[in-house]
Symmetry: C2
Subunit: 280 residues, 2 copies
Amino acid sequence: MSDTAAFEAGSLAALWAARYREGVAPGALPDEAMLRHLMAHRSVRAYRPDPLPEGVLEGAMAAGQSASTSSNLQVWSVVAVEDAERRARLSELAGGQAHIRQAPLFLAWLVDLSRLARLGARLSHATEGLDYLETFLVGVVDAALAAQNAAAFFEAQGLGIVYIGGLRNHPEQVARELRLPDRCMAVFGMCVGYPDMARPAAIKPRLAQAVVLHRECYDVSGEDAAVGRYDGIDEAFQREQGLAPRAWSDAMVRRVAGPQSLNGRDRLREALGALGFALR
Amino acid sequence: MSDTAAFEAGSLAALWAARYREGVAPGALPDEAMLRHLMAHRSVRAYRPDPLPEGVLEGAMAAGQSASTSSNLQVWSVVAVEDAERRARLSELAGGQAHIRQAPLFLAWLVDLSRLARLGARLSHATEGLDYLETFLVGVVDAALAAQNAAAFFEAQGLGIVYIGGLRNHPEQVARELRLPDRCMAVFGMCVGYPDMARPAAIKPRLAQAVVLHRECYDVSGEDAAVGRYDGIDEAFQREQGLAPRAWSDAMVRRVAGPQSLNGRDRLREALGALGFALR
């Protein structure tokens, strides 16, 4: 079954078939609509220029801020970029991704420890805990939880999104472009806009659940066989998309071969140091 | 308005009032149901013992795996723990949180670089890129995106969840308990179960959007005033919940005062090293 059919039909069975290409969806669920929404996600890399309707960004922020945040610290922020020239510059910094230019809205999701640093200064209180990897990690997790809520909301509005990890290619330049204070870092970006239906995005198949879900303890039995099947599934998907066929295993291993395969992000730790994160 | 009323009414206006206690919700939105679902989140710390219905964990995994994952690397996994004794031990390791014992399901969300290490070994290919902070960060972000999709799905099923950052208090012991391989770390946990309605959880108010959302560039104008208002909002919330009133600013700054306030997580970097993450 084609992915487009899955999208049009919108049935859980069709979405499951597109996402896993094996197995079947669970039976009756009290609220299937949420699962259908979430399973229908695909990363959109072709956008119409139409701006977002009024109130949608505010809705996305409310969704994002409603996600959990460790100890209510709220150590994340967002910069919403609409200016076309700034988007063009960010596009270059992220490796020349054309969709950052194209989509009307670009969100830079920030690990933001600067707010607590400012509060500490105002209250004349030490904030040495900001210098630890733990606190940085809280910011990363909480920014991602918030972003994913925002993504789910955007998609429910008929908008498309794509996450931009390329925002970590040049962290210091991105920080300058967005005038980020010390201890503030754009951990990933997100394009938001209406998908260009002339260039539809596809649901990407994923590893079988048995590979990712472990019961009681971590267990690799069955992994080799499942990954073997997935290599075939991914290769078929690549062909359908007109992309070079490849074995997933091989492609992923190449992606993490060494520092040269990380698009400059092998210097992330150095960049974070320059931005005021000691990461003790 | 009470939080319970907001939950019962379920209107966007009521949820907005509970979440921000100032401002008003955006006007007409094409799909308001998703926003209502996401805004209704509250962390549940009191559970009934009833197990999850069949298929719900599989649905949550499908939701989680449908979230974006950088370059399709899929460097995260989950261990689902139902065994009561194992949950009791994990509860102790996470600082004695009773809800881990109480909720029928505990999910340990893993940054899992071990799968690619195994694939690299099988293909006799270098995977030196796994030793970089960047690759660890991809795992953290992708695990969080997946977890938040799962959370949204669980909540749509009438279940409650709470994230457990305390799983980072003793990373090596948690890894031993779950028999995690090298280069695999439980980055946070999640309790899942039916909320005990005799001890209802409340919607926690958050900072005004203007503090967290920046337009074009980072901007702190207005932050002091908004945080001042929020200190009052949070204090009122604490009183309503029968908790010690406090100023949010002050409480948060104390939380990051120094290594002694991090619940042992000041040694996270050392623990990650012991688990095989070089974090170059």
